[in-house]
């Protein structure tokens, strides 16, 4: 697997760091949108070596899934006829009173799957049970989740349904451009692999910010940062593609078609951020039969966030985890107060796992 070595070469990395240092005349604020990128940056300590300020964005789907939706998932998972399936990092995300992992320890049938198609197979194998898949994520997971519904419909699998909490990246970027001072964006390479970057072009023009489609390896990020810095220094603001080995301008058209067929764009509440217009996906009316929320009739439960959690400011990039009074004391991956401390892509978990101390921000 040569890609690992090629994009993690220490000598090339140090050379790129030197070029960024030479190019940057100001401490530009650059936001990486995706939590996977945040983890590489913090894990490698890239932000501590650069003369620019890296701002960590909202790109953790687990983190922005509304509390009400998690409570709904817990209510569905508690039903005896249900096999509740999910990607692993949803299991520890705190709802109002508990999380899915604790529900599992108390007897709920909660299972980790690595693909929603596995959940469909589980439904076929267990015709007497209701199999529910927790369909969260950005544009990256939407095609596979759409495919699972299409497959269940084609194979007449009546006992499969999905609990949907899909979010879209460009509307969130607009919300950040409207409210925070970010000089440039690194767009998430895998989101663009599906969607392309055409929808970012009007954003770069209107808000006069460079947007660089960027991958996830250390060298990808350093190169993306360098491209953003060069645009800023030259006064340009276009969409550029660092992640050329995976992303085309038009994206993956069949995947986009599957998403359009199964889902409709809707307003969406982002946990910690609030409602953002046209920033989510819900099942299209013709697939309403596969909507677990409707099937089980679970309503919101008057969800309440922990008052000590500043996830909203973390997700908008206005605060860093070490600036949170609860970071590393009240809030740890063991006892998370908010979702960013849980997920593999959460900013707080990235800082915690890299051993960044509380009470200071070193970047």
């Amino acid at each position: 697997m040569r890609y690992l070595d090629e994009y993690r070469d220490p000598v090339l990395a140090r050379r790129l760091i030197g070029r960024i240092r030479a190019a940057a005349t100001r401490p530009w604020s650059i936001m990486e949108v995706c939590g996977g990128q945040t983890h590489t940056i913090v894990r490698q300590g890239i932000d501590e070596l650069l003369p620019v300020r890296m701002i960590h964005g909202p790109g953790c789907p687990v983190c922005v899934t509304p509390l009400e939706t998690i409570d709904r998932a817990l209510a569905i998972a508690a039903r005896s006829e249900v096999i509740f399936t999910s990607f692993g990092d949803m299991l520890r995300v705190p709802g109002s009173t508990t999380d899915l992992l604790s529900a599992k320890a108390r007897g709920a049938d909660v299972r980790v799957v690595y693909s929603p198609l596995d959940a469909v197979r589980l439904a076929v194998a267990n015709p007497g049970r209701q199999v529910v898949f927790f369909a969260v994520g950005f544009e990256t997971t939407a095609p596979a989740n759409a495919m699972s519904v299409l497959k269940a419909a084609a194979q007449h699998v009546p006992n499969y349904s999905i609990l949907v909490s899909h979010v879209l990246v460009p509307p969130a970027m607009v919300a950040i451009m409207e409210s925070a001072s970010v000089d440039a964006f690194l767009a998430a390479g895998h989101v663009c692999a599906v969607m392309g970057w055409r929808e970012y072009e009007p954003l770069a023009a209107r808000y006069r910010v460079p947007i660089v489609v960027t991958g996830f390896e250390p060298l990808d990020l350093l190169e993306g940062i360098l491209m953003a810095v060069c645009q800023l220094e030259e006064g340009r603001h276009t969409v550029e593609n660092q992640y050329a080995r995976a992303v085309r301008r038009t994206g993956n058209l069949p995947a986009q078609a599957a998403v359009r067929r199964v889902f409709r764009v809707s307003d969406q509440v982002w946990r910690g951020i609030g409602p953002i217009p046209a920033s989510g996906l819900v099942l299209a009316p013709e697939f309403a039969a596969y909507d677990a929320g409707l099937r089980f009739g679970v309503a919101g439960t008057g969800a309440r966030e922990h008052p000590g959690c500043i996830a909203g400011q973390i997700l908008r990039g206005t605060k860093t985890p070490p600036e949170c009074p609860a970071y590393r004391s009240l809030c740890t991956p063991r006892r998370p107060l908010g979702a960013p401390m849980v997920s593999a892509e959460g900013t707080c978990a990235a800082f915690y796992n890299a051993g960044r101390p509380a009470g200071q921000e070193r970047s």
């Binding site: 697997m1 040569r2 690992l4 070595d5 993690r8 070469d9 220490p10 990395a13 140090r14 760091i17 913090v42 894990r43 490698q44 300590g45 890239i46 501590e48 070596l49 692993g88 990092d89 520890r92 705190p94 709802g95 109002s96 009173t97 508990t98 999380d99 992992l101 604790s102 320890a105 108390r106 799957v113 690595y114 596995d118 250390p218 350093l222 922990h306 008052p307 000590g308 009074p325 609860a326 004391s329 009240l330 740890t332 991956p333 063991r334 006892r335 998370p336 107060l337 593999a344 915690y352 796992n353 890299a354 051993g355 960044r356």
Partner: protein, 350 residues
């Protein structure tokens, strides 16, 4: 148990979740949850928890004892099975205290309806592995429980051994200046188990590193005796948890060079796909050693002379600063703290 915090934020609103008074799978992960559980349970029995095996007599040679339960699923995997794993696991735990194995006991808990042939295969594998290690199985026990009361087959092995001349390795003997050696690539066992499990559909040629390490240890001790300060096989919780345990037990810091840690490309790729950290993935056939700096090259050469140490390498240094902490120098030249695994990564890997 819920921690009572004097913090006013906690006082106004009780912690919303996470802690139940029930055992979670994460309590068996070899990470932080497990360390906390053992720190509570060990003292109840008067048993220390920092070592893989215990010295039961003083004097020379010392008698060393260790026990381990095996619940791995699937029971057969590339590179081994629950039987060979049970033999190697206990032989290795004895070896980490510098002991040569003398005898093993084996106990089975069998679920009603397990195919008898499978039990025969596991038993044969135990016999083969024990013979290859040069240690007899001298006693055992078999219990059968009703269908659903266990998942197929669980195996427990207990071993006694005698310490090798000059052997004094202990989790508490790490000293600033020690060189940190690793006997081979990491992550193979955990990723192999994961890949073999139903549903993942990896098409890989990964093989578990499951193997005995007592000959490697004997060669290291013969070369450098008490200069081999610390030995540990990084099983559950991976290299990260092992180094953290050793740093804490010896009250020293550890600095690891990221580009020196051998991670096979397939392990790295699988970990990337699944969001795992290779440093947290289980191993069953490599060891980490803290060795006095003036003997490290000699020990490394001896390790490389044996199959199980052919890829041995130096991965870091023990330091006096930041006691109890493990710090990694990253590829790009920055640093980060390497923490123990939090909660559960992969249940039932051994």
């Amino acid at each position: 148990m819920m921690a009572v915090s004097p913090d006013p934020v906690a006082a106004t609103c009780p912690l919303p979740l996470a802690e139940t008074e029930r055992v979670l799978l994460g309590h068996g992960s070899g990470g932080q949850l497990m360390a906390e559980l053992l720190a509570e349970l060990g003292p109840r029995m008067g048993a220390p928890t920092v070592e893989d095996a215990a010295l039961v007599t003083t004097g020379t040679p010392q008698v060393v004892m260790s026990t381990d339960a095996f619940v791995v699923t699937p029971r057969f995997f590339p590179g081994g099975d629950i039987g060979s794993l049970a033999v190697h696991g206990t032989v290795n735990d004895l070896a980490m205290r510098g002991a040569a194995p003398l005898a093993l006991s084996v106990a089975f808990i069998v679920e009603e309806s397990l195919p008898l042939d499978e039990l025969r295969r596991v038993t044969s594998s135990i016999a083969r592995a024990a013979r290859a290690c040069g240690v007899p199985v001298v006693t055992g026990d078999t219990k059968v429980v009703g269908r659903g009361a266990a998942d197929g087959l669980y195996v427990t092995t207990t071993g006694i051994g005698v310490s090798l001349p000059g052997a004094e390795p202990s989790a508490t003997r790490g000293r600033p200046g020690d060189v940190v050696l690793l006997s081979g690539p990491i992550g193979l066992h955990g990723v192999t188990i994961l890949g073999t499990r139903e549903g993942l559909g990896f098409d890989s040629e990964l093989v578990s590193d499951c193997r005995p390490l007592h000959r490697l240890v004997a060669a290291m001790i013969a070369a450098a005796g008490p200069a081999v300060h610390v030995l540990r096989d990084p099983t559950r919780g991976g290299l990260a948890s092992a180094l953290n345990e050793l740093a804490a037990a010896s009250a020293v810091g550890v600095v690891v060079e990221e580009d020196a840690v051998p991670v096979p490309a397939q392990v790295a790729a699988a970990c990337d796909l699944l969001g795992l950290d290779p440093l947290h993935v289980a191993n069953e056939g490599c060891l980490v050693a803290f060795v006095a700096p003036d003997r490290a090259e000699e020990v490394l050469a001896v390790m490389r002379g044996l199959d199980e140490g052919a890829q041995a390498t130096r991965i870091g240094t023990v330091v006096a600063g930041h006691p109890g902490r493990v710090v990694m120098r990253t590829l790009v030249g920055s640093t980060r703290v390497v923490d123990m695994l939090v909660g559960e990564q992969l249940p039932r890997i051994c």
